[in-house]
């Protein structure tokens, strides 16, 4: 046979084999659980796995804006900025910060460093407290962190703290309660039943809408979801203070404390005490919780005495 013809036919045979093999593989690949070929997510397709990194970078940039540019770089001591302050100040995210937040730059190392500090932000401020002008009437300037939070949420919608932080600042400083609720519901769409998001949603109903029954319902649902997250794990193990999962412990404590406060406000002291006792193992300051429980017990006995007389 003509060698050129053999070669040509071999190539055609290979082509047919490749096409057939690809046609056989494609439907199986589509069914794989980790298949991303049909993803319609723009950022996911563009950045792939690196989008989490970019999302975190956008979140940190939002915190840098919260500090009006006064922020540590990788060369500075950032112990006081482990948890972004804009997230810490929401009261819905656990803090890991230690050290001096006002003086992370330390003393000037030399004249170049000392002189250079005149041309960069050199004072610790928060935007919601007026920023560099210290003018409390400009606390709505905190809106400037929102573009970065929005970008971070779009890049990594599974990071719940971005939704929590966005919703908190929209609600508390910009009076955009409806938008805040919408943000949290958007977060819940990506992270169904997340206790942290439900906790913040409960706060929206409690603090902004003053709808106490709804808030209680949401917080109780959040507690149920918290337990359902790790049903096989012992409570004592999950709440162990040596455990590095700060957010897990923190959100449990906050939910119990908020529900306890609801019970206390309703005059239901035994239920409030029970909630505080549940919150105690998760609290970083158990002595304060003990004092509060003792105070409630006193109130309870006083109420009993009063009703007896």
């Amino acid at each position: 046979m003509n060698p050129a013809r053999t070669l040509f036919l071999s190539l055609v045979a290979l082509l047919v084999f490749c096409f057939g093999f690809a046609a056989w593989l494609q439907p199986q690949f589509q069914d794989l659980p980790f298949n991303r070929s049909v993803s319609m997510d723009f950022w996911g397709n563009l950045l792939d796995d690196s989008r989490d990194l970019f999302a975190n970078s956008a979140f940190v940039t939002a915190d840098e804006y919260y500090h009006s540019g006064y922020y540590p770089t990788i060369f500075d001591n950032n112990q006081a900025f482990e948890t972004p302050h804009m997230a810490e100040d929401t009261g819905a995210v656990a803090s890991r910060n230690s050290g001096d937040e006002t003086g992370f730059m330390g003393k000037p190392r030399d004249w170049i460093d000392a002189f250079g500090r005149h041309f960069i932000p050199n004072r610790h401020t928060h935007l919601d407290e007026g920023g560099p002008t210290d003018d409390l009437s400009t606390s709505s300037e905190v809106k400037e962190i929102l573009p970065w939070l929005k970008l971070s949420a779009e890049l990594d919608p599974e990071d719940v703290k971005t939704f929590v932080v966005t919703a908190f600042w929209l609600r508390t400083r910009l009076d955009e309660t409806r938008q805040a609720e919408q943000v949290l519901r958007e977060g819940l769409r990506y992270n169904p039943g997340n206790p942290q998001l439900l906790f913040e949603l409960g706060r929206v109903y409690f603090e902004s809408y003053h709808n106490i029954p709804r808030a209680r319902m949401i917080w109780e649902a959040a507690l149920r979801m918290w337990h359902a997250e790790a049903p096989d794990k012992l409570l004592s193990e999950r709440l162990n203070l040596a455990n590095q999962n700060f957010d897990d412990r923190f959100i449990y404590e906050q939910l119990q404390v908020h529900l306890a406060n609801l019970e206390q406000a309703a005059g239901n002291y035994p239920a409030a005490i029970a909630r505080w006792e549940l919150a105690r193992p998760a609290s970083p300051t158990p002595d304060d919780v003990d004092r509060h429980i003792a105070d409630l017990k006193q109130k309870l006995s006083a109420a009993k005495d009063k009703s007896a007389t």
Binding site: I112, E144, L146, W148
Partner: protein
């Protein structure tokens, strides 16, 4: 002085005949306007992210204009064989160098004026106030930084063979100084000797261009810097520019022009 100004005048005319500035300016405007049109939670007053992007583009554009314009000045004269006739006139080599520097510097200043005017207009459209003095300080410091960059590039154009290699090396040096110049001493402390000594020496020798980068102060509306610090920083920048310019004059004096 008349000779220097004549050379500078030609360089300025060359810049506004070329398309580099117009392209960069229009691209900056387009990107900023597109970014400003993004809806962030129905709040039309959010502006700092646009200011940040705009200033970044201004810095990048100005560095591109300064380095690419300066890097081709002397090599272009040599390639077009206009260098010898130019020097045959009553024009010394030093005057030619200073004239080229002045032309590039003034041309970059004019470009900066346009960029900062756009930046001011963009900010004012959302912030409803115009901190002119802050912009003046930022623009002035930016212009002084460009003086150092232009003088450095001019020296490089006499040392390196091709404008492209000179431009690349200048971009790397300037970018390196802007990004890590401030922390070179910290980096040095983490190294073993003799690298520690070398990096530490580099830290004290390089022109600290990061002094002139006031972007964060402008973006976040920090109060004005005291004018004496602006003055000192300007003196620092001018001293480095003069040093590089003097070195360029010395190198050019010994260089064969054909």
């Amino acid at each position: 002085m008349r000779n220097i100004l004549a050379v500078a005048d030609i360089v300025i005319k060359e810049l506004y005949r070329r398309k580099d500035f117009y392209v960069l300016f229009i691209v900056t405007i387009l990107i900023c306007l597109v970014m400003a049109s993004v809806n962030i939670f129905n709040n039309p007053d959010i502006i700092r992210y646009v200011k940040s992007l705009c200033l970044l583009l201004i810095w990048v554009s100005s560095l591109v204009i300064a380095i690419t314009t300066t890097a081709r000045q002397i090599p272009a004269e040599r390639e077009q064989r206009t260098l010898l006739p130019l020097l045959a006139k009553p024009l010394s080599r030093s005057q030619l160098i200073v004239g080229k520097f002045l032309g590039c510097w003034i041309a970059c200043g004019l470009a900066l004026l346009c960029f900062y005017a756009f930046f001011g207009a963009l900010s004012a459209s959302r912030e409803h106030h115009w901190p002119v003095l802050s912009y003046l300080q930022a623009g002035l410091m930016h212009w002084v930084a460009l003086a150092v960059v232009i003088a450095l590039t001019l020296l490089g154009s006499l040392v390196f063979a091709a404008p492209s290699s000179n431009a690349t090396i200048c971009f790397v040096i300037v970018g390196g100084i802007l990004f890590v110049g401030r922390y070179l001493d910290v980096v040095a402390l983490s190294l073993q000797k003799p690298w520690q000594t070398i990096i530490y020496a580099v830290y004290f020798v390089i022109p600290h261009l990061e002094f002139f980068d006031m972007r964060k102060l402008i973006i976040h509306d920090w109060p004005l810097i005291q004018w004496r610090f602006i003055g000192l920083a300007s003196l620092y920048g001018v001293a480095y520019a003069a040093f590089f310019l003097a070195a360029a004059c010395l190198v050019f004096r010994r260089k064969a022009v054909n």
